[in-house]
Symmetry: C2
Subunit: 225 residues, 2 copies
Amino acid sequence: MKAVCLLSGGLDSSTCLAQAHRDGFDCYALSFDYGQRHYAELESARKVAKALAAQDHRIAKIDLRAFGHSALTDEIPVPKGRAEAAMNREIPVTYVPARNTIFLSFALAWAEILEANDIYIGVNALDYSGYPDCRPEFIHAFERMSNLATRAGVEGRTHIHIRTPLISLSKAQIVRLGQELGVPFELTHSCYDPDPAGRACGQCDSCLLRAKGFHEAGISDPACA
Amino acid sequence: MKAVCLLSGGLDSSTCLAQAHRDGFDCYALSFDYGQRHYAELESARKVAKALAAQDHRIAKIDLRAFGHSALTDEIPVPKGRAEAAMNREIPVTYVPARNTIFLSFALAWAEILEANDIYIGVNALDYSGYPDCRPEFIHAFERMSNLATRAGVEGRTHIHIRTPLISLSKAQIVRLGQELGVPFELTHSCYDPDPAGRACGQCDSCLLRAKGFHEAGISDPACA
């Protein structure tokens, strides 16, 4: 059985890929080069895909910069040192419009070609409650749409499942799950704003959530060694 | 009011753009460079967008070739001289997996940035009944998903409408509508397999449907002059 697994190279998507592998799937990892300024994550994605024995790993180049508008692709400063309440209160400037919709659409295309019925995405509704496209209701609507979008859907042959094993886990639970599944944490990369050498800033939302997760799980983060 | 209008440069999408303009929208035309072999259509899209007074026209480069698998991007021969019954009986090899899903996802991203609530797509369920992602049920599911995917959806501010003015028209009706709306037919480009100079082959499904549409509408096709 094949599954397409969206892989950014961060803690969540790497844990998600490991879960897909544990679930018995041959994993086809998919990353995107979308002009993100945290380009180091693509290097992480390559290493993680290899370490977790993905059957194949593709990096699709897409042109989100054509529309601009997010801290991840633009020159807007990434917010630093924010309290968690502030992260959850509003949609962050690091939100990229329709990003998960676009990523899942590409995953759907590849799934159709591979004749895979399963797509894994490491979205999380707790720590990223501010992102509209991390919510369960969005995922369900995408799944419903997918089953009408494809050749297989028309022929009634198969059904696409969008699998979100992390959606209701806390960051600490994700860290513990990742450890249990043997995720090479030292290869993963979460920072929105690394320095030119690829080192995490330690102060953006993503770094803060990661640090809190490792702390609460009682595990030390080898990427910060 | 702003609308994002998907524009391939063909007869249908050009007529759809003209309809959006007639409906009173400021039109933001969006085309894709996805390694299609009928590259001439992008030249048509540029000219049509200009002729129909689009506010802006962007061409997003996307990497569908990374997954391969269709006559429009691969080296599979485009079928020629097929009877219409054969076109409708099966999903054609010119089908690109999840293409409209991907195109609409990009349109959704741009719509969110523009704060536009309307997306026009020139899909047609009659002449392209073989394409899963031209069916009304797919469009409705995409619209439902869109309204959960975006910042506006979370904030309950606006609703995305996916508008498909051509969905139940015959090709002849599209030609008549295009003429009424002043579509510059001579600039549009429909062929799946043009020669190196960009001239239509006259024998692929798209050329045959176009010729039949003009014939039935009693209008001569200036692109074939």
